[in-house]
Symmetry: C2
Subunit: 222 residues, 2 copies
């Protein structure tokens, strides 16, 4: 007699589909079930970190589940598909970045130069600051979204970039910026976004240094 009894597998009959129907999937979120929202946000946090590190396609839903301390099927309780999870991350990241940027623009508009400085500094924070994986995921994994999802994110990007437009136009008029403001915006944001590829938080350059150097590079201050 073996000490451990092997659990005899229940025979699985294939259930006729018409009898198998019953409501499934995520129940509507009840107000007050805070804990569920916490698990959802935890999933987004760990998934964003993995997506940033290895890329959306290279990360499996099992990786994500394990990183969140769940079993393999459980992420699908919170997100219908892996793609919906990616979209939730990117959308939340953009909404947060838009909100914090707006707060900054509202409180620091002494001059066009200083406004640009605040925008650049904030952008670096969003890209490179602690716990900031959502925007890098948008920048480098947005391609994996569906066309409709991409269109929605494009709208958020326009909203995010909107405050940059008048500032760069003003600087061009003042002679501090010597390029077409629209192209300058694309080039400046490109220079900043690329820092995700090489920035080392343990390195010598701080976000303040990067901001100062970027302003020096792009603007001619007399």
């Amino acid at each position: 007699m073996p000490h451990f009894s092997v659990p005899s597998p229940m025979p699985r009959f294939s259930v006729p589909p018409e009898l198998a129907k019953r409501p499934r999937g995520r129940p509507r979120k009840l107000p007050g079930t805070e804990a569920e929202g916490n698990r959802r946000q935890e999933l987004m946090r760990v998934a964003a970190r993995l997506f940033r590190q290895k890329g959306f396609e290279a990360v499996t839903t099992r990786d994500i589940a394990a990183a969140a301390g769940m079993h393999s099927g459980s992420p699908f309780y919170h997100f219908e598909t892996k793609g919906v999870l990616l979209f939730a991350i990117i959308q939340a990241g953009m909404q947060a970045a838009i909100a914090s940027q707006e707060a900054i623009v509202r409180t620091a508009p002494s001059s066009a130069v200083n406004t640009l400085r605040a925008l650049v500094r904030h952008h670096y924070e969003v890209l490179l600051g602690p716990d900031s994986d959502f925007i890098p995921v948008m920048l480098y994994e947005g391609r994996s979204l569906s066309a409709e999802q991409q269109a929605a994110i494009t709208e958020l990007r326009k909203t995010y970039e909107a405050p940059w437009v008048p500032v760069l136009q003003t600087l061009a008029k003042e002679g501090a910026l010597s390029a077409d403001p629209d192209l300058a915006r694309l080039m400046i944001l490109g220079a900043l976004n690329w820092s995700v590829q090489w920035f080392n938080p343990q390195g010598p350059a701080s976000l303040s240094t990067l901001t100062d150097q970027a302003l020096s590079l792009f603007l001619r201050t007399p």
Copy 2:
């Protein structure tokens, strides 16, 4: 009697491994078998286009085979693994870019500003010109390489960026560049590399326009 005879499947016996051994895989390339090199390059070309469009992980070896007009197993006659194919693309792209850049630097060194202009223009060509998928694949898919492969590519990148260093140092000394030359290099290359994300060949801006605008943005020419 059915009109079409169903091919009776040959029973497949599992062959004892010690009897199944015989030389397999890519035969050594004989000198003169030009056609084989052509197929290999064609595979690299179509794979690079697909990798750029959809990302390395999202492209299957079957996609690549179909795009090259082959059957699903045939790419593995030319490349041991999908990863080796990616590495071949990136390595070839870097070697070609280093060679063409060197030719440019050798023939146009009238001044530091003009040398930078030639470097920028050449870099745009490599990123956005016709049939130029290899470098964008390096920029955005290099993460899928193994650590050793990445180290090899990093060496090639250093070689590629080497001519930029003295030019930017000279411009800084001349007062035409107002930022640390090393950070400036990272930011300028970032601004250029990001153009892969938004540049539209059918749009209004030509590569010459981009080059002029970039120089105006980064340099203060009196």
